[in-house]
Amino acid sequence: MSNEHGESANMVKLILKTTLWLSIITIVEIIAAVLLTDLFERNNMLIVLNSFYIIMSLAKAFFIVSVFMHLKFEVKFLAITILIPMTFLLFAVVALLAEGNSWLQMRNY
């Protein structure tokens, strides 16, 4: 940890830059949701838009975790121990979405 003034100022700059990015992404997402949903839906391209949201959300998550939560500046192995468990979730998401889809096929009455 350094108390050097320059480093501190740099950090503040990085924080503000990250804030800017987060805001831009959010604005873009909302604009897309409000203006483009109908267009994409009509052309059966909603999946493109949805993938866009997911990628953008992951980008936002990356910014929050790496800069705000400071993980970028921690020992790399710490980051690894935190991120590896998240891959289990990835598998669970895929499996459960597949399941949800099959429930749709099986719904009765």
Binding site: W103, M106, R107, N108, Y109
Partner: protein, 351 residues
């Protein structure tokens, strides 16, 4: 009451006696010298290891032979044979592994008991050995997975085109069956139509449903594929038919399915087993409440002619149970309500 007290007293006394004996051995041990006692108990225990191994293996083989007639259930369906052969293959591999590892474990335990004049071998690692005993199980398991999945996809795959369809619905604590009737098609059913009289919610507005019949016993044609459409209306149940190797949960809200081909008629089975009362039984295999253990259904497997004769005697559920009764009025009312509700919904969404 008094006998129970006596039994408990006897047990307590017995425990105390054992305990006293154990304490005594401890004192004796101190008197005799601990090392000596330890060597002796080591010897006893190491011998018991071998005794356990031999006696255990003997008991295992004896009991398998003894229970063979009970535990090997004649498979009465096509895929049952597949499952049985898979079972045998798996048993072969696991059996070999079981016998070898148990023998090694107990033999080593006996062979390498503590002696003063011998030192244990400092042998922390052998990569080659470890590699082999990773690769061999992996290969065996791959084989089993391949066989297993091949069969799994066959069993769970689409049913043959000429399958009969039977709908089976679980409720606490019985099974309700529905056959498609003469037209060969099951009518629609809908949850909202369920009443005590119309147990599976048949939609009588659907013309296909008018000839559906609901027998109390399941009849199947031998060597003819049958598709079970499995439903539940209150909690989860499970259609388990051990002789056909059939098992599938009945889940409220969704329809599950299982198809199979019965290969042995009830008559033949009676001869084979020498049991004149033999019946195929449906059991509930998923805990569904306090009556779970009595949730039985019965199945008759018969020839096509017998089956046709049976179907011809069955009365349609609509005609025998609904038509002209209070149930029909109730059904009409619900129909009306549903229609109105749907219309109202359509209106609001249009807004």
């Amino acid at each position: 009451m008094t006998t129970s007290v006596l039994v408990i007293l006897a047990i307590v006394m017995f425990a105390l006696v054992i305990f006293q004996l154990a304490k005594t051995t401890e004192f004796v041990a101190i008197l005799r010298g601990e090392d000596k006692t330890r060597l002796e108990s080591d010897r006893i225990n190491s011998r018991l290891m071998v005794v356990f191994l031999v006696a255990g293996m003997a008991a295992l083989f004896w009991s398998v032979a003894y229970f063979k007639k009970h535990m090997i259930l004649e498979s009465a369906s096509v895929h049952g044979e597949w499952i049985d052969s898979m079972f045998n293959v798996t048993l072969l591999f696991t059996g070999v592994a079981f016998v070898l590892t148990q023998i090694a474990l107990f033999y080593f335990a006996w062979r390498y008991k503590h002696t003063k004049d011998r030192k244990a071998l400092y042998y922390p690692e052998n990569n080659k050995l470890e590699m082999w005993w990773t690769i061999i199980p992996a290969m065996v398991l791959t084989t089993l997975v391949v066989i297993g999945l091949y069969r799994w996809f066959q069993i769970t795959g689409p049913e043959p085109k000429d399958s009969n369809v039977v709908e089976i619905t679980g409720k606490q604590f019985s099974w309700m069956l529905r056959y498609p009737g003469k037209d060969g098609k099951l009518g629609e059913n809908r949850f909202e139509y369920i009443t005590e009289g119309n147990g599976v919610g048949i939609d009588f507005n659907d013309p296909r449903s008018r000839d559906d019949f609901m027998p109390s016993e399941m009849h199947l044609v031998v060597n003819r594929p049958v598709l079970l459409r499995i439903k539940a209306r209150d909690v989860i149940h499970d259609v388990g038919i051990p002789h056909f190797r059939v098992k599938m949960d009945a889940v409220p809200g969704i329809t599950t399915r299982f198809w199979f081909i019965p290969t042995i008629t009830t008559e033949e089975m009676r001869k084979k087993t020498g049991n004149p009362d033999f019946t195929y039984e449906i059991a509930c295999d998923q805990l569904c409440g306090t009556g779970h253990f009595g949730m039985k259904g019965t199945i008759v497997v018969e020839s096509q002619e017998e089956y046709d004769k049976w179907t011809s005697t069955q009365k349609s559920f609509y005609e025998s149970g609904i038509q002209g009764t209070a149930e029909e009025k109730k059904f009409a009312e619900i129909s009306m309500q549903l229609k109105n509700a749907e219309a109202a919904k359509a209106n609001t969404t249009h807004e």
